[in-house]
């Protein structure tokens, strides 16, 4: 069965695709034997960005570039992309889990009348059908799902899939299809930027440091941020710390916060309540530091230190510094 696997491009709003796209394109290429195509809906693409998508393995880029596409509005995007789907009949449509894809992709699926597997962590071709695996019930179980018909629509959890190797010289054919752009009823008023910590975004970071109730107060997060700057890690928090008002909600890791899947997770003073584990269980390597040897997080930790975090954090930061200077 022929047909391309489409990859919806998430960009940095400055004309470059985010690096999570190398994971989406890599997985789409693997499943389709090299028939991954990118669909980039944006107000501003760049030559460099288009080149990047090609190097990651997209054979084609469908570029829908128009000022009306930013900021994202479902009522504008969905009809435009659905029109292209009707013309080109892709076999699958993949996108990374981001705030706007969380809305756009299910809406597109409803428009097309097909199924959606959100936040998938694995795919397999079974015969000529795709099967997705996704965590359910706070990550306590895995659910395997299959679609009744194509296009198979799914979102992919960042940091889980193997990224495509960028190959210099590999390039994508650029298509600029004309689609009808409907008027928007939602009026954009303003964007309020977060105060930047200068550290990576939680869901994208390869290393995440998390502070729980053991941090004792908001003022102590500076020691985690210092470690974050040394190793290039994002700094998050448990629900207990967020509910106590120590950190804004956007830093919460867990069931009612962000889901992360970094290469390395370092938890300090985090007990490991189920609702926290739901948001970080698929991390590759888990380190836990807690005074309480009975803390549930030690059950899933690869490495644990039972000690006072206020002694461990400065010592660890200093060891990391030595390592980075080598």
């Amino acid at each position: 069965m022929a047909g391309a696997f489409w990859c919806l491009v998430e960009d940095d709003r400055q004309g470059l695709p985010k690096k999570v796209m190398s994971e989406v394109i890599g997985e789409a290429s693997r499943l389709s034997n090299g028939q991954a195509e990118a669909v980039w809906i944006t107000d501003k693409a760049s030559e460099e960005g288009l080149k990047q998508l090609g190097e990651w393995g997209a054979t084609k880029v469908w570029l829908l570039e128009n000022a009306a596409f930013a900021p994202y509005r479902g009522e504008v995007w969905v009809p435009a992309v659905a029109e292209l789907v009707a013309k080109e009949s892709p076999r699958a449509i993949f996108g990374p889990v981001t705030s706007r894809q969380r809305e756009f992709i299910p809406r597109l699926a409803a428009k097309l009348g097909v199924g959606l597997a959100a936040d998938s962590v694995a795919f397999a071709m079974e015969g000529d059908k795709l099967v997705a695996t996704r965590p359910v019930y706070a990550g306590k179980l895995l659910s395997k799902v299959a679609w009744a018909k194509t296009p198979w629509i799914a979102t992919l959890r960042p940091n889980v899939f193997r990224p495509a190797d960028a190959q210099a010289g590999r390039s994508a054919q650029i298509e600029r299809p004309s689609v009808t752009i409907p008027p928007a009823t939602m009026k954009f008023a303003e964007r309020r930027e977060e105060v930047s910590t200068g550290l990576p975004e939680l869901t994208e970071a390869e290393t995440v440091i998390s502070g729980g109730r053991g941090m004792k107060g908001p003022e102590n997060y500076v020691i985690l941020e210092e470690m974050g700057r040394v190793i290039g890690a994002a700094v998050g928090a448990s629900r207990a710390a967020v509910d106590a008002g120590w950190r804004p909600h956007r830093f919460q890791i867990g069931q009612t916060g962000r889901t992360i899947s970094p290469k390395l997770y370092l938890g300090f003073g985090v007990s490991g309540a189920i609702q926290h584990l739901a948001g970080m269980r698929t991390s590759k390597v888990i380190v836990a530091v807690n005074k309480d040897p009975e803390a549930p997080i030690f059950k899933i930790a690869d490495y644990g230190i039972v000690a006072d975090l206020f002694e461990v954090v400065p010592a660890l930061t200093s060891e990391f510094k030595k390592l980075m200077e080598k």
Partner: protein
């Protein structure tokens, strides 16, 4: 102003879930059920809008089996005026699209000016129904809202939605569909008076036929539920802090290759 809140009953986070005999659904024996936490933010916001305006009606709606009535009672106890229970074995295996179609049919009958949902239910974590409702109804939609303000005339709503790196503020004409994010508000606990009063409030039962829903095949089917693959056993690093930290960094570098 009429506001409709779509909610879902889900297992409590702390509940142990076991795979059922069919290998595709969970064994519901002994499970504690709750209103999905994000849905409580939606209910709370609806009640606040009504209270601020000094008039209006808040209707809670769910699709689910008999037990889901408990979840509707909780919403009534919080202060919703009445509830609608779409309860039909034909919809027992409904995927997100079938669920959205059923709820959209209720919304078409009820004709509210605003629909509020939680950003996702914490059982299957699909987070799709709100957006699919918007698409089926042809209404504007905003996800992950952190702030909301309906204008005095009840003609539009200003929302701040959470995106990577900040908040984006939009004005949406009503009717519209909104998905509540944590941080929007702090849901109230039902009062004793609220709990007693909830027993007298109306819960209307609806079947697929009442909504004019035709039977249709599921677009997404669960083929199997599986336990998590076990993680390799971890290691507690012994010794004083200085020694343990050195050994941790060595292990992360040399064994785990994680840094």
């Amino acid at each position: 102003m009429k506001i409709l809140v779509a909610i879902k009953q889900v297992p409590d986070t702390a509940t142990q879930v076991k795979i059922g005999a069919d290998g595709k659904t969970i064994d519901t024996t002994g499970i504690t059920w709750i209103v999905s936490p994000y849905d409580e933010f939606a209910v709370e916001e609806a009640l606040r809008i009504k209270e601020k305006r000094g008039q209006g009606e808040v209707v809670a709606v769910t699709l689910g089996p008999d037990r889901a009535k408990e979840a509707l009672r909780s919403c009534l106890a919080m202060g919703c005026d009445r509830a609608i229970h779409v309860n039909d074995p034909a919809l027992a295996a409904a995927d997100t699209l079938a669920t959205a179609r059923a709820l959209a049919a209720v919304i078409t009958q009820e004709a509210p000016q605003l629909v509020l949902c939680g950003r996702q239910a914490i059982d299957d974590d699909m987070g799709a129904v709100t957006a699919q409702l918007a698409e089926l109804l042809g209404w504007p939609c905003a996800y992950w809202i952190m702030e909301e303000a309906v204008d005095a005339e009840g003609k539009s709503v200003r929302v701040a939605r959470q995106v990577e790196g900040g908040l984006e503020v939009f004005d949406l004409p009503l009717p519209a569909v909104l998905a509540a994010q944590k941080g929007l508000n702090e849901p109230r606990y039902p009062t004793l008076k609220g709990i007693m009063g909830a027993k007298k409030k109306e819960i209307k039962d609806l079947k697929a036929g009442d909504l004019g829903l035709a039977a249709e095949p599921s677009q997404l089917t669960i083929t199997a539920l599986e336990a998590l693959p076990p993680r390799p056993p971890g290691r507690i690093i012994q010794g004083d802090v200085a020694t343990a930290v050195k050994e941790l960094v060595r292990s992360l570098r040399e064994d785990a290759k994680a840094i």
